[in-house]
């Protein structure tokens, strides 16, 4: 699991965000808009203000554990009724997607 200590947030790293956007286009965009509204899963606009970075990364990288143990993740499933898929992201890819989210 990712903890707060694993993530350092500084100024937005544009290269990292661009890589995150490329991953988003292939693996996330089918279900998540970059706006405020839900498609299949929640829209990403402002997500980094609503959620802690380690929570976001665990949703991307450790979805099975989150849906078993995290009440907020479980609440999301009750709302969307489609399990967030494990899209096979590496830790680095997850971090890049997080950086992309920060630009929204």
């Amino acid at each position: 699991m990712i903890t707060a200590a694993d993530i350092t947030l500084g100024d937005i790293d544009k290269d990292m965000a661009a890589k995150g956007q490329a991953t988003y286009d292939v693996k996330c965009q089918a279900c998540h808009s970059t706006g405020p509204n839900r498609v299949v899963g929640p829209g990403w606009k402002g997500v980094t203000e609503r959620r802690k970075p380690e929570w976001i990364m665990n949703m991307m990288l450790n979805i099975d554990v989150m849906l078993e143990t995290d009440p907020e993740a479980q609440k999301g499933l009750e709302e969307c009724l489609v399990r967030m898929p494990n899209q096979g992201l590496s830790k680095d890819e997850g971090r890049e997607v997080l950086e992309f989210m920060r630009t929204l």
């Binding site: 965009q29 808009s33 096979g88």
Partner: protein
């Protein structure tokens, strides 16, 4: 083929006492056997608790189904049926644009076959869990199944062959798998092939092919063929240990009959086992000996990166004539119409199972070599030296049963032979040639299988009978009854029946391997980043629609639980629509299906990260539904879309959309 029992139970009882060896009779239940001989705690020995795994994978041929089934042992639970030589509308195999070329041959598209003998690839004479080969009998082919994906990875056609039965047995490091033609035929150019059937003796030839699978890719090519006198080849096995470098093929119809073989090919008391010095053949081929002869054939290979078939068409094949190369082939007399041709784990002994014989001959490789060195011959057959039976014989198992068919081995020097006519398995000691135990099978066993039982290192533990007739063993299902396998423990001195389990198709032969050798290889999904399909859509941003004349191409994606696009307009009557669908999921066990009303071919089943194409030709104007056929999520029933089809002269613009109610992008 399964044949119906022609007699009732009561007449059987009378006849059994004077049962004669007549090969036209189907196997019959021997008298004096009980219906179930299960004793003690057999159930606990085959019980695999919910959520637990079986100890072995069991790869069972489908016979006339043309496929390969996978069971867990000891539970007998069916895990999967892998489409190989026959089309499979459920997955789209043989129907999708990418897979249909897997079934092309020099005869065109052949959507079925008769698959007989699964053979696991080997490293140092031991099954390694990498591939499983299987032969197609009818339109001679060999397939390689990748045990990482449990999918057919390549199929090669065998030219100058008719009925690829004695196949696809492997050398100790899977340098080659072999194919021996069951039917001998006239070969060569058209004039040489168009001859009267009664000229069999002059014009018909047999041959055995050595096929090389590329160790990296699994792509197969024919390294060489060896032409032989006209006979029927039946089964084969590679030598190992001291006999490494040799291959042994059983053959029948040394009478060279071409009609009513049932009688005319059962005249001689002995037929042959043919010994091939394949190391010498390999060397001759490498030295450029032999000649290329006509032999058009296809080699089809599944490219895991492009998710598509690549076909190579060969016009000819390298053939070696043993007349030009003494020392390549020898015949050994073997009683009578031998089927099984099995080499024991030490590689010292070769067991012939003459299906019309009343004994089992065991040949000694050491004696074969001595007889060759001493030129100890009893003559020749079609120019090939025939070694003297007594000189190459280790010994005979006397009166083992009726109709010996096939033999496998355990690691303790014992052999297990199936007896079709007397419906039993007989255990005997290879060195001493003594019968140790026998158990009935229900009914008419064909092949049998011990895990690793044809290799250098049998894992033993079980012998499994693959039966031709089930008659009264299961709930009846009309005229056609289920086929079956039976699992016996061989841990103790006595064989013990543990379990019957039904099988799909005809369970002709099978091999088993410890699960631990296969499980770690499993591919969980195809990485979308590595997908090189020419029509892949890596994300919904890459979805689109394009008209190319009368062809409409749709780049489409699936994810739980929608298609993109799911509203298509501008398709016209007379168009051919190609749906190129990429499953964007990147997790194990999340396939999506694709079906469209009126599809004349099949549906598609798309594994995560995979791209496949379904061609659809609309036949009427209107709005046609399409949907996902694999229950993918709670919103699976919502995974659907529409295609609007307009008249041929319509001016509706071509569009492809996914419309989200309130998403602000």
């Amino acid at each position: 083929m399964k044949r119906p029992l022609l007699m009732t139970g009561t007449t059987l009882g009378v006849i059994a006492g004077t049962f004669l060896l007549v090969n036209s009779l189907p196997g019959c239940r021997p008298s004096g056997t009980t219906k179930s001989v299960v004793t003690g705690d057999a159930a606990s020995k085959v019980y695999v608790a919910p959520g637990k795994y079986d100890e072995f994978y069991n790869f069972v041929s489908g016979g006339f189904s043309g496929q390969l089934a996978v069971y867990g042992i000891p539970s007998g639970r069916l895990l999967r049926e892998i489409p190989v030589f026959s089309v499979d509308p459920e997955s789209g195999y043989g129907y999708s644009e990418e897979t249909k070329d897997m079934l092309t041959t020099s005869h065109g598209f052949i959507p079925w076959d008769d698959s007989h003998h699964p053979e696991l690839s080997q490293t140092d004479g031991i099954p390694d869990g990498k591939w499983c080969f299987i032969n197609g009998n009818n339109t001679p082919r060999i397939a390689l199944i990748d045990l990482g994906t449990f999918r057919t990875g390549s199929i090669i056609e065998i030219p100058n062959s008719a009925g690829n039965h004695s196949s696809p047995f492997t050398t100790g490091n899977s340098e080659y798998v072999v194919a021996g033609t069951r039917f001998s035929i006239p070969m060569g150019d058209e004039a040489s092939r168009d001859v009267p059937i009664k000229t069999y003796k002059e014009n018909f030839k047999g041959n055995v092919s050595f096929i090389h699978p590329d160790p990296e890719t699994g792509k197969m090519n024919i390294a060489f063929q060896i032409v032989t006198p006209g006979v029927n080849f039946d089964l084969s096995h590679a030598g190992k240990g001291p006999s490494e470098g040799w291959f042994f093929f059983s053959c029948y119809n040394t009478e060279q009959a071409y009609s009513l073989l049932e009688v005319n090919a059962s005249q001689r008391d002995k037929d042959f086992i043919m010994a091939v010095n394949w190391k010498l053949a390999e060397q001759l081929a490498k030295e450029g000996k032999g000649k290329r002869v006509p032999g058009k054939h296809h080699s089809n290979w599944w490219n895991h990166k492009t998710h598509s078939t690549e076909t190579t068409v060969y016009e000819d094949v390298l053939q070696l004539d043993p007349k030009d190369h003494p020392g390549l082939l020898y015949f050994m007399p073997c009683p009578k119409s031998p089927h099984g041709c099995d080499v024991d784990p030490t590689g010292k002994y070769i067991v012939g199972s003459g299906k019309l014989a009343a004994l089992i001959p065991v040949f000694s490789f050491e004696k074969i070599q001595k007889a060759i060195a001493a030129n100890d011959l009893e003559g020749d057959f079609g120019g090939i030296p025939v070694l003297k039976y007594e000189s190459v014989l280790h010994g005979e198992v006397k009166k083992p049963g009726l109709g010996p068919l096939h033999t496998e081995f355990d690691a303790n020097g014992n052999a297990y032979t199936s007896f079709f006519v007397s419906s039993e398995i007989v255990k005997w000691n290879v060195e001493k040639l003594e019968v140790l135990d026998r158990v009935p099978t229900y009914y008419s066993i064909g092949h049998l299988s011990v895990p690793g039982g044809d290799s250098k290192k049998p894992w033993g533990k079980y012998v499994i009978a693959y039966n031709k007739i089930t008659k009264d063993r299961y709930l009846p299902t009309g005229p056609e009854l289920t086929q079956s396998a039976q699992l016996y423990s061989i841990d103790g001195d006595k064989m013990e029946l543990l379990l019957d389990f039904p099988t799909t198709g005809e369970p002709h032969y099978a091999q088993s391997i410890p699960a631990e050798l296969v499980k770690p290889r499993e591919v969980k999904f195809f990485k979308i980043e590595e997908n090189e399909h020419p029509f892949v859509a890596k994300g919904e941003k890459e979805t689109k629609i394009e008209r190319r004349g009368k062809e409409v191409h749709v780049w489409m994606t699936t994810i739980r639980s929608h298609f993109a696009p799911d509203n298509i307009e501008g398709v016209k009557l007379g168009d051919e629509v190609y749906f190129h669908i990429t499953n964007l999921e990147q997790d194990w066990d999340v396939p999506h299906g694709f079906a469209i009303k009126g599809a004349a071919n099949a549906e598609l089943l798309l594994m995560p990260g995979e791209t496949q194409t379904l061609k659809w030709v609309p036949t009427r104007v209107g709005v046609t539904p399409m949907y996902c056929t694999d229950f993918c999520s709670a919103l699976h029933q919502e995974m659907q879309g529409y295609v609007r089809v307009s008249p041929a002269n319509s001016t509706v613009p071509l569009t492809a959309l996914t419309v989200s109610v309130d998403a602000e992008m």
